[in-house]
Symmetry: D2
Subunit: 365 residues, 4 copies
C-alpha cells in the first residue's frame, strides 16, 4: 500500500558530519575552516562538540549558519541508567544555555513539536519524547492561580508525517503556531547518520530550525526563526544508518586494521609479545591508515578511493540490487524508549526551573 | 498528576436523546414537536432514525438546527462480523447521501478529524478510526498522475486533547484548516450516552458540526460551517455511560418489570402457565409501566419521580460519595477496535466512489 | 467471533466481601463469626483489614481457610503518586510478613504468575504487573557469581487465558511448575468487586491460592499448596463491577441519604442552617439507614428487600434486557498502569531484601 | 539493566544457507553433495527450494536430518498485498503436504508455539503470528457439539524468552506439552540471516524441530520428535542480519560489479551504447565474478579471500570496535505485522480444512 511507505529521509543533519565531510575533502585545512569554529569539552562521561557556523562557514560546509552542540552519550546503547541520567542532565543544561543565549524569558511560552512517524519505531523519537514532556499551558489558561512558580506554559504537538496525514507537515505546524503563538519552538526528530557509531549515541541541539522531511522535497518548508518569527531549536538523534555507510565504515576499519597489523609486525616490542596477544582493544585511529601503496595492496583500487568515491561506488552497486537498506539495531524498541526518556527529562528540566533532570522522572508522564 | 486527568465530558450529543428528554417532559406532544421531524426506517438489520430540526425545533429541544441520522447497529456489541459489515455499508450510504445533500462534489478535498484522547481507550474512537482512513491527498499533490479515478483527495489528522497538548483543540483544527483549506470536514468522536443500551451500538451522523470538549467550557469553539466556512459533518458513537444513568435506567426497568408481573399475575392464560415459565424474553416496554399508585407501592417516593427528578436525586447521592463514575464495558478494547473498523470502512466507502464497504478492508491500513 | 469472548468471571474473591455478605445475612452475630478473626489497622494513609479464617469459618462464610490481608489505598484512583508509593511500601511489608509466616527462606526460588488476558485492559493486571517484576532466575543459573547479595532467584510467567491459548490455564501453570520447581508461587489477578468503591482501590493478599477463572467451571483446578506442593500466595485487585452492584449500591445510598435528610430536617441546629447548605460532605454510614416504615415510604417494596433479594431482583430485571454489563471506569488505561506499578514495586521489594519500594523504580522494567 | 538484554542469537537456521556455505567450501561438488537432495520449483511468483538431508548429509553440511522447504516471497518487502496472499497460499499448501507426509490425522490436536520476545519487534514474529492463529481447542473441550466440521483442536502459546521469564524456554514448552499432550507441534520463530536479501523474504518450513535460543547455550534443549515424542514442525523467517554479513555481501557485489564492467567494456555491442546507458538492471550473478588476478586488482588481498576468511576478517575488525550490530530494516514494524499475517493465515489454512488462505482473514484475530 502506497500510503504507508513514508519516506524516511537520509539526512546529514549532524553538523559534525558536515564538518568531517568537508575536512575529508580538503585535508590541508583540517583544523581551520573559515567561518566554522569548533570547540570540544568533556562533561563527566559525556563528550561535547560546539560548532559555530557563520555566513561564510555556511557557504563552505553547506550547513546553515548558527550554533550546533553535539553530545556523545553512550548510556542508551549500553543500557546504563546512570549514564542516561547524566546525559539528560548535560543535555538539559546545554539547552538551557542556548535558550538564554537567545534571550528566551523564563516565563515565555514554549511549543514542543515531536516530528516523525508513530508507526515506524526508529522514526518515532519525536512523538515518543513529546509523550513524556510536561504540558502546562492549559493549566495556565484555565486555572492560572494553581500553577506553582518555577514553571512556564508549555504545549506539545505531534503533527505526524505526510504519508499518514496527507498534509505537508510544515503546514500543520505553521497553522498551529499561528493560532497558538508560542514564544519559542523546540522540534525533536530522529535523524539518519553517516556513521554507524553515532546511532542512538549522539544528541545534536541547534538554534537553526529544522526541515521536516528535508532533503527530499524542496517544496517543503523549513521550521525556523525566518518562517515562524520566533526562535526554533532543533533536537536530533541519529537512529538509522544505511548499508552504504555500514560498508564504507567497515572498509575504512579494515584498512586501518591491516595498516596497524603491518606496522606492528616489525616492531621489536611486538616481537616479544606472543602472537595474537594484544593489550586491550586499542581503538583504531586515522594514524593507523596505511599509505597508498599499502592501501592498494590490501584493498586494491577500492582501497585508494576517496571517501566520496568509495561511497558512490558502493551506492551504485547496492541500489540496483535492492540492498541499500536503511537499518536500525534490532534492540530498536528499548533504545527508542530510553532515548525518548533522556530527551523528555532534558526538555522538562531545561524549560522549567523547578525541574532538574534528577527529579524529572516525577514530571514525565 | 493533573495533566493526565483530561475531562471526558458528559455530552448529550445524541439528537434522539434530546428528543426523548423533551418528550419525557412534555408528554402530550409526544409525536409532534414543532420544528422537529422524525422518521424511522429499517435497513437490513439496522434501524435508522432521521431527525430534522429547524430553528424553531432548536429552541424547543435545545439541539442545533440540522439533520441527524441515527443508526442502531448491535454488530459490535455482539461481536458479529457480518452485522458489522452491514453497519459499515449502511453508514457509508447514509453519509454519502448527506454529502450529496450538501452538494459536496465527488472530487473535492476532505479532511477527517479524529477527536479524543489516544491514551484513554474509550475516548480513542476518533484517533483509532482515523488510523484506518485511506489518506490520499499527498498522492494527488506529489504524483497526481498515479491516482486512479474514483478517489478524491483526503487528509486526516488527530489533534489530541487539551490535557495532552496544552492547546485548545479547536484552535489546532482551525490552524490546520486555514493552511489546508479542505472543501469539507468530517469529525469523529466518542460520546457519552444517556442510556446504557446505546453504548457501542448507536452511530450518529449529523451536518451540524461538533464542539470538541463541549459542555465543559464555553470558551471552546465549535467546528461547524459557521466557523470553518465549509460543511462540517460529525460522526459520533456513545462509548461511556455514567452510574447515574445506569441506576436510573435500572429503576425504570424494575418498575416495568414489577408492573408487568402485577398485570400478568391475574391473567387467565398465565394461570395455566407453570410458575416461572415465560415464553421467550418479551422485551419490557413503556406499556409495562404501572400507574402512579403501583409505582409508589413498588418503589415508594422514588417510583413517582419524573425522569429528571430521579436523575437529580441519584446524582445528588452519588457525587459526594465519589460513586458517579463514568464507565465503559470491560470489553472496551475489542469494542473500540471493531467500531473504529466500522467507522473507517464507512468513511472510506462514502468518500471514494471506487471503494465499497465490502472491499474497504483492502484500503484500510 | 467466539474465540475472543473470554469469560471475565464475576468472582467474590475478596474475603472482606464474603464476611460482609455473611454479616448482612446474620445480623445478630455481626462482630463475632465463629472461626473468623477480623482485625483492622491504619498504616499511614492506608487502612488494613486482617481476616483469618479457620476450618469452621470456612464452612460459615464459604471462604477458604487461611489469611487474608486487605489494603484500602486510593492513590491510584486519585492519581496521587505519593500515595501510590505508600501503598507499594505497605503492600511490600505485608507480603514480606506473609512469606516469613510461611517460613519461605530468603534465598528460595519464587515464581510470579500474571493471570488474565493481555488483550482486555481491565483483565490485564496480572500480565502488566509481571512485565515490571525483576526477573533474576536466569542470572543465578547462567552466571551465578555476578548476582549480588540481597536478591533471590525469581521467574515470572503470563500463562494467558483459555480463550486465547485454548488450554486450561491451570494446566499451563502446573506444567511449568513441574519443570521449574519453584519454592513458592505468587499469583496476581484482576478481580470483580461487589462494591463500586473497592474498584482500583483494594489490594487483597492471601495465602490460600487462587482459581484461575474460578466460579465458572468446576473442572478447572486451583493453584494452591494442595495442588502445587509449595505455598501459593494470591494478590488480587478488583478492577470491574457489574451493573447490578452499581444499582444496588446506589439504592442503598439513596435510602441512607433520604434517611439522613429526614432525620436532620427536625434537628434544631439544622433549622438555623440555610436550606441546601451542608457542612462538608459527611459520608453516609449505616447509621443513616432509616427504619423499615421509612424505607417503604422512600423506596416501596424495593426499599424493604434484603441485600440478597434486592440484588436478585435487579439481576432478574437486567439480565434478559442485556443490561447486566460488567464495567470499568473510563480511565481504565491509566488506572491499570499505575496499579500494576504499585503491585510490581511491592513484589520486588517483598522478594529481594536489597530492594525497597522506594528504590524499586530502578529495578522495574 | 541486565535482565533486558535478551540475546538474539545469530543462527544459521536456513538449510539453503548451510548448503551454500558447504558448496562454497567445496566447489567441485557443487550440484552433488552426498546425502543432500535439492530440488527447485516455481509456484506462481514464489520460488521454492526443497532440501532433503539424510544422516550422511547431516554429517557433511552440519544441518539436521529431515526436510526443509524454503519459500522466497517478496510480497512483504514490497508491501504488495496480492503477493502476500499468494505467499500465504503457497506456505499453507506446503505445510499441509508436510503434515500429510508425517501422517498427521485431520482431527488430531495441534499446538502452535510462538517463540521470541514480544518486546523486541524483530524478534516478535512468533508471538505476533500466534496472536492471529485460530485457537479452537477449548471449544472442542467445552462445547464439542458446536464446533463445525473442517476444524481440528488447536492451542497456541507464547512461552517468552529466558531473559524475560527467567526460565529456560524449552522447559516451559516441555511442561505445557506434558500436560496438554498435543499430537503435533508447530514452532514459529524469527531467525538471523547470512544474506541481506533473505531478510523478511524467506520462509523456511522443516520437520526437524527447533532449538529455542540455539547455538548460544548447549544446555538448552531442542524441541523435536526426539524430545516431545510427536512431530515438531518449525517455521522460520529471517528478520535480522549482522553488519559482517552486510559488508561481506557488499564486497561480493563490488567484485561482481567491477568484474562485469571490465568484461563489458570491450564488448562490441557495448561500444555502440552511449556511456552510462544500461538496459534495465541486469542482476549480478556468480558469472560476473572476475578471476583471481582481477579480484586482486580490484580489491587487493581482501578480494582474494574465501567467503569464510573474508567474514572472519570483517568480524575481527568490527567486533572490538563495537560495530558488529545485528540490524533490521527501519520499516520493521510494518514488515513484522505483514509477515505475521502471512504466517498466521498459512497456519490456519494448513491446519483447518474449512479454511483457505483466501478466507483466512475472517478467521484471524
Amino acid at each position: 500500500m502506497t500510503v504507508e511507505d513514508e519516506l524516511f529521509n537520509v539526512r546529514t543533519d549532524l553538523a559534525v558530519e558536515s564538518r568531517d565531510m568537508y575536512v575529508e575533502k580538503d585535508k590541508e585545512n583540517k583544523q581551520d575552516i573559515k567561518g566554522v569554529t569548533v570547540r570540544d569539552k568533556q562533561e563527566r562521561d559525556i563528550a561535547l562538540t560546539y560548532i559555530d557556523i557563520n555566513a561564510e562557514g555556511e557557504k563552505r560546509i553547506g550547513k546553515k549558519e548558527g550554533s550546533y552542540i553535539t553530545l556523545y552519550a553512550d548510556g542508551v546503547k549500553k543500557q546504563d541508567t546512570q549514564k542516561q541520567q547524566n546525559a539528560a542532565n548535560v543535555f538539559a543544561s546545554e539547552l538551557k544555555e542556548l535558550l538564554k543565549k537567545h534571550h528566551v524569558p523564563a516565563d515565555s511560552t514554549g511549543l514542543v513539536v515531536g516530528l516523525g512517524n508513530w508507526n515506524i519505531t526508529p522514526d518515532a523519537l519525536g512523538p515518543m519524547s513529546v509523550e513524556k514532556v510536561l504540558v502546562t499551558n492549559h493549566l495556565f489558561e484555565l486555572e492560572h492561580e494553581t500553577v506553582s512558580d518555577g514553571y512556564r506554559p508549555v504545549a506539545a504537538v505531534t503533527p505526524g508525517v505526510m504519508g499518514v496525514t496527507g498534509i505537508e507537515t510544515s503546514n500543520i505546524i505553521f497553522g498551529i503556531a499561528e493560532k497558538f503563538k508560542p514564544d519559542f519552538v523546540i522540534a525533536v526528530d530522529a535523524l539518519a547518520s553517516r556513521s554507524v557509531d553515532r546511532v542512538n549515541e549522539t544528541i545534536q541541539i541547534s538554534d537553526t530550525g529544522i526541515h521536516p522531511g528535508s532533503g527530499v522535497d524542496n517544496k517543503r518548508k523549513e521550521l525556523s526563526q525566518e518562517t515562524l518569527g520566533v526562535p526554533v531549536f532543533a533536537v536530533g538523534v541519529p537512529t538509522v544508518v544505511d548499508a552504504v555507510t555500514i560498508t564504507s565504515d567497515t572498509i575504512d576499519l579494515i584498512l586501518k586494521h591491516l595498516g596497524r597489523e603491518w606496522r606492528d609486525k616489525d616492531r621489536p616490542a611486538n616481537s616479544l609479545t606472543p602472537a595474537g596477544l594484544t593489550f586491550g582493544h586499542k581503538e583504531l585511529t586515522d594514524d593507523d591508515l596505511p599509505d597508498d601503496e599499502k592501501r592498494k595492496r590490501f584493498l586494491g583500487i577500492v582501497g585508494t578511493l576517496s571517501e566520496q568515491d568509495k561511497k558512490s561506488l558502493i551506492e551504485e552497486v547496492l541500489t540496483p540490487a535492492g540492498y541499500n537498506l536503511m537499518v536500525t539495531p534490532k534492540e530498536v524498541d528499548g533504545f527508542m524508549r530510553d532515548m525518548a526518556d533522556v530527551i523528555a527529562k532534558g526538555l522538562n528540566a531545561a524549560m522549567h526551573s523547578s525541574i532538574t533532570a534528577d527529579n524529572a522522572a516525577d514530571y514525565s508522564r
